[in-house]
């Protein structure tokens, strides 16, 4: 059945992938044994005259229940509506609503029920009087119930879209389009002030923003009974969102101070979970993702791996091995026995390339079949296109890439990968060879895999010809992909 899906107008790349992931989680693609080939994505349509970046879309979902589940769990769906009518004018709308079959409408207009009508114009604010006039204009619909503005059984929305000459940055809508529908479900945006970082007990410089953390948990389909792992757990900001959705969480970090000590007995990862009444992670450990402590033969443990690896821009990654040792500055050394117990191993810089290689290897081995790897990948913005080659791995299929522009120079892309093939001996061997190659060529990777200079170096180093800011004009004016 086709529903009208209206998004919050932000984080544009994230909107549809979130709905697709949640639709799959709530069973939208089951019962497709009769269709050939099996469906694993939704059908979408744009309303007449609307641009793909518009918040208004039509989506085909198997049932109202699935639509409600998807909408209520989402973060970016302003509402999913059963459409009763649409038109380019209020007269056309009235005709359309009158044509809508009674079996659809009457069950929600009964005398015993309560309702509310909300008038919304995308891109313009209209006065209360105008809103009231429009509501009165709907008198031809036989509402028999009572009005309840606080907590009605049914919410009806009258939505108008038009070119108001406003500067929301979207290409102007050529012709007015009006929709009227019954709300099936909507995102619970109250989660955001509840979980906002501003009020969080224990923060770190790269703690994940609450809204994005929830989007990541939705991309990973975190749900009760699933085991979710974050190999760069830090303050636990990503695990919090997974725990909110009922998943069992586990995390590791190479920095023991962040994970074990925090900033005190009441200011650490555990206190973050306590703050929200969430079940604690079942395991936190200090481990190096480059040399993980797993027993051989351990595999397919996690349902999802969700993380934000260090890009080397604001927080550098570290790995074991001793930085001077790897650079060849000193020869191999042994820690004297009497100093061993409290020895803090020297860690070396960890390039993004090696970090991602290790992450993919970990995920390929430790995810269950069909499990999801969701992580951020930084890209330099050059000439408008992110024609980047995202990391690939034979065990994975990339199902979503959602860009979030961070600055003029770079963005990060949330990649969602699904494990589609088992981790074989050959794949393990290839990974080991690559691991040794990184180790041998430590210095080379430090330079080549370095994003930091790309982001922070002065402009004239980037544009060799000396044209200052040539591409600022060609970048889109509206903030669509910024937060």
């Amino acid at each position: 059945m086709w529903y009208l899906c209206v998004f919050y107008h932000r984080l544009l790349d994230y909107r549809k992938p979130e709905v697709e992931s949640l639709a799959e989680l709530f069973g939208a693609f089951k019962d497709t044994d009769n269709t050939n080939p099996p469906k694993n994505s939704l059908e979408w349509k744009l309303p007449q005259h609307h641009h793909p970046d518009s918040p208004f879309h039509f989506v085909n979902l198997p049932s109202e229940e699935i639509a409600r589940n998807v909408a209520s769990r989402s973060i970016l769906v302003k509402g999913i509506y059963e459409l009763w009518g649409e038109g380019s004018s209020y007269e056309e709308l009235e005709l359309a609503i009158k044509c809508c079959p009674d079996e659809h409408k009457l069950p929600y207009l009964t005398p015993g029920s309560t309702f509310k009508i909300i008038v919304d114009c995308f891109g313009k604010v209209i006065s209360s009087k105008e809103q009231n006039d429009r509501i009165q204009g709907l008198a031809y619909i036989p509402f028999k119930g009572q009005v309840n503005l606080r907590n009605p059984d049914h919410k009806f929305w009258l939505m108008e879209t038009d070119d108001y000459g406003s500067n929301n940055g979207l290409p102007p809508i050529v012709q007015k389009r009006i929709f009227f529908g019954r709300e099936i479900g909507a995102a619970d945006r109250k989660l955001l002030p509840t979980y906002q970082l501003k009020s969080r007990t224990y923060l770190g410089p790269t703690a994940m923003d609450a809204e994005i953390a929830f989007l990541m948990a939705n991309q990973a389909q975190a749900s009760p009974g699933k085991l979710v792992y974050d190999p760069f757990v830090g303050t636990g900001s990503i695990l919090i969102s997974a725990a909110h959705f009922g998943a069992i969480t586990m995390g590791a970090d190479i920095d023991i101070r962040v994970v074990r000590d925090g900033r005190g007995p009441n200011c650490n990862v555990w206190s973050n979970f306590k703050q929200y009444g969430l079940p604690m992670p079942i395991s936190l450990l200090r481990a190096d993702n480059n040399l993980p402590p797993w027993r051989s033969g351990l595999k397919e443990m996690f349902d999802a791996i969700i993380c934000d690896p260090p890009y080397g821009v604001r927080a550098g990654g570290r790995k074991s091995g001793g930085r001077k040792l790897l650079k060849g500055v000193v020869g191999p050394y042994t820690i004297p026995d009497d100093k061993r117990t409290d020895h803090i191993p020297s860690t070396a810089a960890y390039s993004l390339a090696e970090c991602v290689h290790d992450l993919l290897d970990l995920a390929a081995r430790m995810l269950v079949m069909g499990g999801r790897l969701v992580y951020f990948y930084p890209v330099l913005r050059e000439e408008d296109s992110i024609d980047t080659n995202f990391p690939e791995h034979p065990c994975f299929k990339l199902v979503a890439a959602c860009e979030q522009i961070l600055s003029f120079r770079y963005s990060r892309v949330l990649l969602t990968m699904v494990k589609i093939a088992p981790y074989t001996e050959e794949i393990a061997e290839a990974a080991m060879i690559q691991h040794l190659e990184f180790k041998e060529n430590h210095l080379k990777w430090l330079e080549d895999g370095n994003l930091h200079s790309g982001v922070f170096s002065p402009a004239d180093l980037l544009n060799g010809t000396g044209d200052t800011k040539p591409s600022k004009e060609s970048k889109p004016k509206y903030r669509g992909k910024y937060v």
Binding site: P224, G225, L227, I248, M250, I254, I256, V259, R260, D261, P279, I282, S283, L284, L285, R286, A287, D288, L291, P292, P293, W294, R295, S296, L298, E300, M301, S320, G321, G322, L325, P332, Y333, T334, I335, R340, T341, H343, P345, S346
Partner: protein
């Protein structure tokens, strides 16, 4: 550190042939309540090394687990409760995990095992 975690860890020091399971040196054990989830337990049963779990739980002072287990036992609620307790509710707060081959100790402090290798173990 819970026994579920212990069951996943091994000493991967260079040159060690088999660093699993790590011997547990107990200094402080705490019991922490965790919500019971039968599906999660059944899922985990297939992935863990049973003998290592039994030995580990004994070293933590819990001897209720049967020495051998097979999937049919998952139907028994009594078995599931014991499994749940051993896997998730026994917590090594302070102590160490010891490599079976080299004797090297990986400390466990405030419940968090430190599995980082020294420069010469890499």
């Amino acid at each position: 550190m819970r026994l579920l975690t212990h069951n996943m860890l091994s000493s991967n020091i260079k040159g060690v042939a088999n660093g699993f399971p790590l011997r547990i040196e107990v200094e402080k054990v705490v019991e922490k309540q965790v919500d019971f989830n039968a599906d999660f337990l059944k899922n985990m049963f297939a992935k863990i090394e049973w003998k290592a779990l039994v030995d580990a739980s004994r070293s933590m002072g819990y001897s209720e687990l049967p020495g051998d287990a097979n999937p049919s036992m998952l139907d028994s609620d009594d078995f599931l409760q014991k499994f749940h307790h051993a896997l998730l509710e026994l917590h090594l707060e302070e102590g160490a995990l010891v490599c079976p081959e080299t004797g090297r100790k990986f400390p466990v402090n405030k419940g968090i095992p430190n599995m980082l290798l020294h420069e010469d173990e890499v």
